[in-house]
């Protein structure tokens, strides 16, 4: 698997940033935010992978000593949980702002939402 999967995760990240900066529709920008969040979470989970690893859950068949030897790293998974929650908060706020923007400007096109210049 090696390097290719990390390159793909970075490509996903760049795709999301392209959607964020190049698109003119507010809803597409919010989708770009979602794609960027997914890409970073994917990268974070991939960092913890171990070849042939098992899930880091303590059960009767896999006591903790077994897990230390064979399980994938659980710390990036905890980081991803937090990151997902942060992404959720940002997306909810962005959607609420987009709703209000539509109320005030009557359009979703960023080219028309340009009151502030200078």
């Amino acid at each position: 698997m090696g390097v290719a999967i990390y390159v793909l995760a970075f490509a996903f990240l760049l795709l999301g940033i392209y959607a964020l900066v190049a698109k003119k529709n507010v809803v597409r920008i919010i989708l770009g935010i979602a794609i960027v969040e997914y890409a970073v979470n994917l990268l974070l989970v991939l960092v913890g992978y171990r070849q042939g690893g098992i899930a880091p859950i303590v059960t009767r068949e896999h006591p903790p000593a077994d897990l230390v030897a064979r399980a994938v790293d659980p710390l990036p998974q905890a980081m991803v949980l937090t990151s997902i929650v942060i992404g959720l908060g940002v997306t909810a706020l962005a959607v609420a702002m987009a709703t209000r923007l539509y109320e005030k400007y009557g359009t979703f096109d960023m080219n028309d939402i340009r009151d502030l210049r200078g």
Partner: protein, 145 residues
């Protein structure tokens, strides 16, 4: 927003109970199986979303309001902070002040159970509040069909 047909309404009202039960299960056993407060809270909120989608916005607005969601959310957050601060006065910040039982029992893992319950309450109430606010606001903003 209009509701859906009576078949959907009856099915949804039965299924929602099971969905919320599953959400509570995921929250409570968060220290034994994967899940925990956040995942359980999201599942409970999914049950509420199911009800809103099938019954429409008006019956829901008569039953609940955003204010209650805010109060529940605040209570959940305060409970989590209290767990941390009680630990603070008993040792370190977030220290464990209940005994840890045997692994894989329900009453093990110290204060993780209380934290999970608090976070589950907060996430469920908070996300429900967000959903209700967006649904009611979008209804007011979009042009009439």
């Amino acid at each position: 927003m209009k509701g859906m047909s009576p078949i959907v309404k009856n099915t949804a009202s039965v299924v929602t109970a099971f969905v919320m039960m599953y959400g509570i299960y995921v929250t409570v056993t968060g220290h034994i199986t994967p899940g925990g407060g956040f995942a359980g809270g999201v599942i409970i909120m999914a049950g509420v979303v199911l009800l809103v989608l099938s019954y429409g916005g008006d019956p829901i607005r008569e039953v609940t309001a955003e204010g209650e969601c805010h109060v529940l959310e605040g209570l959940g957050a305060m409970a989590f902070l209290l767990v941390a601060v009680i630990g603070l006065f008993g040792g370190a910040f977030f220290a464990n002040w209940l005994g840890t039982g045997r692994p894989m029992e329900l009453l093990s893992g110290g204060t993780i159970l209380i934290s999970n319950l608090a976070i589950g309450l907060k996430v469920a109430a908070g996300l429900t509040g967000i959903f209700l606010a967006l649904v009611l606001a979008i209804r007011a903003a979009m042009p009439k069909e």
